[in-house]
Structure formats: C-alpha cells, structure tokens
Symmetry: C2
Subunit: 369 residues, 2 copies
C-alpha cells in the first residue's frame, strides 16, 4: 500500500470523488483475472452459466448489503439502474403518476430545478415551496409546504451539493416523500416510514459513476404505471432483479466493495458520526475566521457533505485554490453557477484530509487576512 | 503478461464479453494512481479544474477516435450516454418523432421486438416487415419492406445477437435508417449515407457494460423534439459534449483504451477481415459436419459476430458445454429463448480462440456422431 498511499491526494470533488484506497487496491488486484476464473469482471456476462453463475451472487449480495447497511425496512427493495439521479427525474413521474395524480416539488436549489425541468415531460407536477427568494440558504419547515389535492408524492433533494444545504429533518407530510439523496446515500440514518422512493447516483458515497440506486417501497410496485419502457420501469427492474437490460456489471461490483468497506467501518451510524466530525471541523474553522471565510447557508441547514464558503475577494479565492493544490488538496473549486470554494467530504474522505484542509485554511488566513 | 495470459479462458459470452488482454493490463496498472495524479480514474470528476482538465481530453479523444476509426463522415457526432441499446429504444422516438410522424420497424427477432415494445410509449410506430413466420432465419430485401407515409425513420437491428442473423447489405430506402448496431460497432464498414443514427452498448466490441454510443447526423439535431428530459435529449447531450449529466467516466476511459487497441490493430477494415476469417472457420466446421452441427440461419444472412448452432440432442448439447468448459472455452450456451450453442466472436476474440473451439468441435463430433 506504501507507494500508492504516499502519492495520494485529498480529493474534495463533488462527484465522481474519492473512494477508499483499500477498495481501489482490491479492485486493481482482481482486475485482470477475477478469482482465478481467467477473465476480468469487466468482461463478465451478467448472465453466467446457470450451473455456476458469477455475477448474480455479486449483485444479490450488493442488494442485500445496500438494504441492510442502511437499515431499510423489509418492505424496501433496491434497484440498480443507469443514468444517474438525472435519469430518475423523468422516471419518477413516468412510473408514479397517472392522468389524475400529480407530483409536488420542494425547490431548494439547482438539483430540484433540474428535476422540475425534466419531470414536466412525464406528468403533472408543481412547485410546493421555493427557497429562490432567499437565495437558497435554507430548507423549509413542513408548515411552509403547500400541497394541492391529488398529490401522489413530494420530491425533495435531501442535500443540495451545489448550494451546500440539506434537510436536517425530513418534512412530516400526509404524502409520501421521493428523495434525491445522491450525496447522502448511506451517509445518514433516515426515517424510512416517510419515503416511498430514495434514489441517487453511486458516484459520491458508494462507487464510480455509472450506476444508480433506487430504494423503492415494494408495496407500491403493484400500483405503478405499466405503460413504461422496460428499461425505465421500476416494476420490470424489480421483477428481473435489476437485469431488465444489461446492468453496469463493473460499477455494481465496485459498489459491492465499497459497501463491504462501509460494513467493516461500522456502518451508516459510524458514517454519520464521521460526517458530523468532519463537517464540524470545517464549519468551526469558517465561523471562527472573523468572516475571512463565509458560508452563506443558515447554520441549521448546512450540508454535512458539501461545505461551501467564500473568501473576501475572487483573487484570494484563486490563490487559495492554487496553494491548496500545492498541499495536495484538490478539486476545491465551487460549482460554476455559484463560485467560491466547495469541500465535498463524503464517506470515504478521511478525517485527516479535513484536518489538513483546516490547517491550510488557518495558515492561508493568517497570511492573507 | 505471463501469468495472466496463462490462466486466460476463451470467453464466448454475448456481452459483456472478452476484452483485449493488453487493455485490461493497462487499466490495471493505472487503476489506483492515474498518471501520478494521486487518484484513480474511478474517482475522477468529469469536471476537472479548468486550468488542467483531466477527463475532458479523454472524452474528447474518445469521441474523435470513435468517429475517425469507423470512418464516419464530418456530419456525424458521437454521444456517450447510459442505459444501453435498450435505453435507446424509447429515446429514439422521443427525440425523432412528433405527433405527425412515425417510425417503421423491421422485425428480425428478439431485439427488434424489444425495441417495438419500448418505443410504443414514446411515439407512433409500426412494423414494416417481420421475419417471425419464417422463424427469424433471414433479413429482408428492400423490396419487401412496406413503408407508410410520414415515416420519419426505419429502425433495424443490424445483427441479432440471439438469432445469429444480420443484414449483409443494408436496405436502400427513401427514409433514413436508425440502426441498433450494439453487436457490430466498429466491426464492419457501413454506408453512412443511409443512416441518421447508429447506436449500441459498448459491452460487445468496445468496452465494459455501462456506456452507450450514439452516432448521430448533426444536421438533424435542429429538427429534433425539444420536449425531452435533458438526460435523454440528443440535442442537449450534443450541446454539452455528453456531459448533460455525469457521464460514466471509467467506462468511457475503457472505451478509449479499446479504441487505441483497435487503431494499433489496423482499424475497422482489419476488424472486418478478422471477423470474416473467424466466422468462416466456424461456419465451415458446422457446414462440413454432416449435420451434426446445424445453423438455422440462411447462409447469406448469417451473423459474423454470433454463430448459433444446434447439436442432435439436448443431452449432447449439455455435454458439449461441459467438455468445452474443461478446454477453457466458456459461455457458449445459447440464449434461453432459443437454446442450442452460441459462440460470440467479437473484435477482441483472437483467431486462436476460434481455432481452439473448432478443434474441440471436430473432436467432440468424432467421439459422439
């Protein structure tokens, strides 16, 4: 592990992003010849010989781990699909709505705007709250959310990776939630009773880009829209155990490895504790900087995964990014639409990475304040 | 390379399937630390630092190679999307049709049936020819294809991986073709002037499962349906250079490596020559077996990628598969819907693999005829 670890950077990318080093090394060791089978998992058919299937036990174990490690109730299944969370934006209304029902959207920023835009082509939807007038600096209380009649689901984004805000508590409503949790998958415990669907791309907490996990309440499968293309159909994917079309075999294998790592490291409760510790370190550094660093998000709504902040000037931000890279702290630039700095600190980011960043921030402030 | 090569099987899977060993070994070497950057390509953001983007040059080069190596005219672009060819079944009519136009489908077997089923939800489509009455043993002449007025495109599957038949010549029609070429991507030269769109999953000739290539005529982009979710929109994916949503970074990187391998090995013309040679060896063995091995497909329409055949009894087929595996010849079982044997021999299958299979077939026949 020595040489790889020595050269390793701290990668604060918003996704695809840092993965556990031991997972990468394990994948590397098995990449050309998987388990002595004389072929790579990259070459492996999802439909092995019936007598000795190879991929089917892997996807089954991944499914089981993804459910159990997040403490999902028995009424949930998890589907592995493609297209990322963005692909789910049209698929959710396609599967859940009919001509009589509609979907409500809680607009907390960029990713819900994208969902609103893409969902409109597949069903009747509307905005039930918007934080736009407040520059997306908080998530709403349940009492602020205005639902119309015949609302089938309420879509929310549990954590806005660009704005750096989250739902610290999930709203309690009479209608089931559908949550885009791309950036918080298996990073916090959630009240499953409130959700019908939780989805997200793997490329933040769970693996490489190219596979999407959809946690779905099994009791709703029977009432879904049946006029849906097979590849996009939750019912068809559930019935075929995520093999309605060729699944992204290698990406699922990587998720399997990350889940095993997560299990060895104490599961979702430990991940949440670590996320608390990492984000507290960073927010404390920001809040104790005499406004040299400023986070625009209201304290109670701040993300534990994507810490966004600004410096006094654009010039200082530019030089901050350059010097950070020299300290092997990379991909800290904020999203183009908002600018500033963004430190994405998902499950695989070691505390040491955040400590190194905080030390650098204090030093940089000391020199430039 | 010694140890890996020694243990290597000949993998006749229909996809995901065998990749060039040198590509796997290259990926393995770079897997944990890509180019000394201190991170894996599995962790790499598609949006690198503007000053030194890492993935953008990779996807750009992959695009350029995918076009030039297949001799696509300047009017074509290639998009990298997700969801496989199955995902394209609903996306083609979603993007190409409006309320006045319709899509025609040439039904040569399993994959066009799937396309018909999935396309019906996104537009007005119909079957313009069907080989079902002849048990899908040939593709049609142009004169047999019955087009209705206001037909925007004609969908065909250039090579049916399950039935083992192909279009040796592509039909000459007044309407542009849209071709599912999943199993023949960069494996044969094609008359580009006949096509508006050529699509396919990478997992046969080009890389691992998880990325779909869509070759699209640029001059049609302006007339596409605009009411399409961003992730599914050819125009949006073209405009954003396949980054309308997070692309499957690692899978595209693997395609890049396979394309470089293809370039080193003489390009698509050489691939076609090799495919001719491989399939001729196998069909000759079948046709010279005194009907011990029987291929149901008419000679002129036989696939060069998926050679299907039957043995005199199911018992013999079972024992054929078992003994083949002992000779390190694996994944030869035919698709569940048709049974029999299927040898998939894509670009990366060495001639040696087919020779080994043919030797085994002759020996097996000798012992069992």
């Amino acid at each position: 592990m020595g040489q790889n670890a020595d050269n390793r950077v701290y990668n604060f990318s918003a996704g695809p992003c840092t993965l556990p080093l031991e997972v990468l090394e394990e994948a590397q060791a098995e990449l050309v010849d998987y388990c002595g089978l004389g072929m790579s998992l990259l070459e492996m058919s999802h439909r092995g010989p019936i007598s000795e299937p190879i991929f089917e036990p892997i996807i089954e174990e991944t499914r089981r781990l993804a459910l159990s490690l997040w403490n999902a109730p028995d009424d949930f299944d998890v589907l592995f699909m493609q297209g990322g969370a963005s692909g789910q934006f049209p698929m959710v209304p396609m599967n859940l709505l009919d001509e009589h029902s509609r979907g409500a959207y809680i607009n907390t920023g960029h990713w819900v705007k994208m969902a609103l835009n893409d969902a409109q082509f597949s069903g009747n939807i509307y905005q039930a709250w918007s934080g736009e007038d407040e520059a997306f600096t908080r998530s709403p209380d349940s009492s602020e959310i205005r639902l119309k009649d015949r609302t089938r689901y309420v879509h929310l984004c549990s954590n806005e990776t660009i704005g750096g805000l989250r739902f610290s508590d999930f709203p309690g409503l009479d209608v089931p939630l559908v949550a885009d949790m791309s950036s918080e998958m298996l990073a916090r415990a959630i009240p499953w009773e409130k959700f019908d669907i939780v989805f997200g791309g793997a490329q933040k907490n769970l693996g490489p880009a190219g596979v999407t996990l959809i946690y779905i309440r099994k009791s709703i499968l029977g009432s879904l829209n049946v006029e849906v293309p097979r590849t996009f159909s939750y019912a068809a994917q559930h019935a075929s155990r995520s093999m309605a079309n060729t699944p992204p075999v290698f990406s699922i294998w990587m998720v399997n490895k990350v889940l095993h790592w997560l299990e060895r490291n104490g599961g979702v409760n430990e991940m949440e504790k670590r996320a608390n510790a990492r984000s507290k370190l960073l927010y404390d550094c920001i809040d104790n900087s005499d406004e040299f660093y400023r986070c625009p998000v209201q304290t109670a709504h701040r993300s534990q995964m994507n810490v966004v902040y600004k410096l006094p000037t654009l010039e200082l931000e530019k030089s901050f990014l350059e010097q950070a890279a020299q300290h092997r702290l990379v991909n800290l630039r904020g999203h183009g639409s908002v600018g500033g700095i963004r430190a994405s600190i998902y499950n695989a980011m070691p505390l040491k990475g955040v400590e190194t960043l905080v030390n650098f921030m204090q030093e940089f402030k000391h020199k430039n304040a």
